[in-house]
């Protein structure tokens, strides 16, 4: 059972069993849905902002252990950051998943435990699902703001 223990570390299982930030926020600034074409899983993410700062994130939807744990860890890692910082963090996590850089624990917090997923290409999509949802939401909001100016 050696190899797989990277994928199913205790920390990941913990976030899977007791997901943080699960649910839907009442008055979100950002609402976004993302689906994983491989398994059909859908994720719903809501975000509250104070100016440019992310004050709260919530996620709901069906998913495997990896996507659920990842959404939980992502929320932990992102809350409190500005949207610009969040985009950088997301990009860092994307690079970790694609083996372009080593994971930086200071930035990622518990999500650093997901690094081992990058040995399982199909599951990378599971790990990235919530992060890509948030990125989509942040970028869409930026475009909307540009246009409403």
């Amino acid at each position: 059972m050696a190899g797989l223990d990277d994928l199913y570390q205790e920390l990941i299982l913990d976030h899977y069993r007791r997901p943080r930030h699960r649910g839907t926020l009442a008055h979100p600034a950002i609402i976004v849905d993302q689906h994983n074409p491989l398994c059909g899983d859908e994720l719903h993410v809501t975000v509250c902002l104070d100016g440019d700062r992310i004050t709260e994130i919530a996620h709901t939807g069906e998913g495997c252990s990896i996507s659920q744990a990842s959404a939980s860890m992502m929320s932990d890692a992102i809350v409190g950051h500005t949207t610009g910082e969040a985009l950088e963090l997301i990009e860092h996590f994307r690079q970790v998943m694609h083996r372009e850089v080593q994971a930086d624990e200071d930035q990622l917090g518990d999500a650093v435990a997901l690094e081992g997923v990058n040995k399982y290409p199909v599951r990378i999509k599971c790990a990235l699902l919530s992060w890509m949802a948030l990125k989509d939401g942040l970028l869409t909001r930026m475009v909307d703001q540009q246009e409403s100016r």
């Binding site: 797989l4 398994c39 059909g40 899983d41 069906e62 495997c64 252990s65 990896i66 399982y120 599951r123």
Partner: protein, 413 residues
């Protein structure tokens, strides 16, 4: 333990090099043949022999190497035609089953479908039997309508009969055996109804031709599509069987070398069947490979294959009841189903199931099985699917059940 007297799966495995033991590595429990089958040495050798002994392009060279290549290539076609008892001029090589269906959708559909015409597909159709029609419908203004399924995962034949009476249905695309539910559909019955109303019928045999006796004439369909890699053959080849009279009336699909008899600056004449539908250099090695696969299957006997798999499915349906809360989709009666068994487990996502049973080198599939409309009907995003073949036996099912127990224990629940 052999399941039926007909096939000794353990013994057959010796024909499949991927099952050869390597050191003290755990043996491979391959239960994903609905996605792609393993390949016997006979198939790999036939292809290698072509490349090493007589590699040349076909149909045009006059030198001995090329003549021999052509002979082996066309013998591959004969073997495939023999397997489903189809006329050789109606046996067309494509790159996979998907291209075979697209061939009909584009070559026949684009030129024959009119606005508001209906193409009837089923809710349990594979994406390859849906999307080509959606694309061609968009171009022509035709509509794609989905035949619903019953709670047991069978087609609602009354609904189909009614729709054929009431709507201008021009084509029915029906999967012979569902890759996601296992259901064996009554193609001949549906074809008879469709023909009464002037609709053509395309049967998707991707999951039936490898697993049971399929005679083209008995299906009563106008077209039959299937694919090499699921029937012990190589990737890169599929087959469209069609009634020669219909194929002869159709304009070609892909244009290029091989499929013409003359090309002028002001137009061209088509080659005879089946070559009219085979543009460019065909999959030569692959045709030789699928021919060897067809011969291998005929040698074992498709009746025996079917008996073996029916017994395997019956054993598996029984054994899976051992797993707490496990739910199997599709018909409960093994007589009404082919090899694939889709299932779900409470609180255990199919991805996690498949990943965790792989620890014991048990290979099963997780996902929507290219059947998203069906998944929506079933009310799930994905299922896990185990699918056996001639090289699997009850020990493989036992290994799966043990691995499922272990997965449940590991991920808690």
């Amino acid at each position: 333990m052999p399941l039926a007297a007909d096939i000794d799966a353990r013994a057959l495995r010796a024909d499949f090099p991927i099952f050869a033991p390597v050191g003290d590595r755990e043996p491979l429990v391959y239960l994903d043949s609905a996605a792609t089958s393993q390949k016997p040495t006979a198939v790999l050798d036939a292809m290698d022999r072509y490349y090493v002994e007589t590699n040349a392009n076909v149909h045009r060279g006059v030198y001995a190497l090329a003549e021999e290549a052509t002979a082996r290539f066309e013998a591959g076609r004969d073997a495939v035609a023999r397997l489903v008892e189809a006329p050789r001029e109606g046996t067309i090589f494509t790159k996979n089953a998907t291209e075979a269906i697209n061939l009909v959708a584009w070559a026949w559909g684009v030129r024959n479908l009119r606005p508001r015409d209906v193409v009837l597909v089923t809710e349990m159709e594979h994406h390859s039997g849906i999307v080509p029609w959606q694309i061609v419908a968009e171009i022509t203004g035709a509509r794609v309508v989905f035949a619903p399924i019953t709670g047991d995962g069978e087609l609602d034949l009354d609904w189909i009969a009614r729709t054929l009476r009431e709507a201008p249905v021009r084509m029915v695309n029906v999967v012979h055996v569902s890759n996601a539910l296992g259901t064996i559909n009554p193609v001949a019955e549906i074809a008879r109804m469709a023909h009464e109303h002037g609709a053509l019928v395309l049967a998707d045999g991707s999951q039936s031709v490898p697993h049971m006796p399929v005679r083209f004439a008995d299906l009563e369909a106008d077209f039959l599509a299937f694919t090499g890699h699921k029937m012990l053959g190589p990737t890169g080849i599929g087959v469209l069987v069609g009634r020669p009279a219909i194929l002869a009336d159709m304009e070609p699909f892909l244009g290029g070398g091989e499929m013409i008899s003359d090309v002028r600056t002001d137009g061209c004449d088509w080659a005879d069947l089946p070559w009219k539908f085979e543009a460019g250099t065909p999959p030569i090695a692959e045709a030789i490979g699928i021919g060897a696969a067809a011969d291998y299957l005929r040698h074992i006997g498709l009746e025996a294959v079917r008996a073996h798999e029916r017994a395997l499915v019956a054993y598996a349906l029984d054994a899976l009841e051992d797993v707490d809360g496990l739910r199997v989709y599709g018909p409960p009666d093994p007589d009404r189903r082919g090899a694939p068994i889709s299932f779900s487990m409470p609180d255990l996502h199919p991805h996690d199931i498949a990943q965790l049973v792989d620890r014991q080198r048990v290979c099963i599939r997780a996902g929507h099985h290219c059947a998203k409309p069906l998944m929506r009907t079933l009310g799930v995003n994905a299922t896990a699917r185990a699918s056996g073949y001639i090289y699997n036996d009850s020990a493989d099912v036992d290994a799966l059940v043990r691995a499922l127990h272990a997965a449940r224990a590991y991920l808690g629940g």
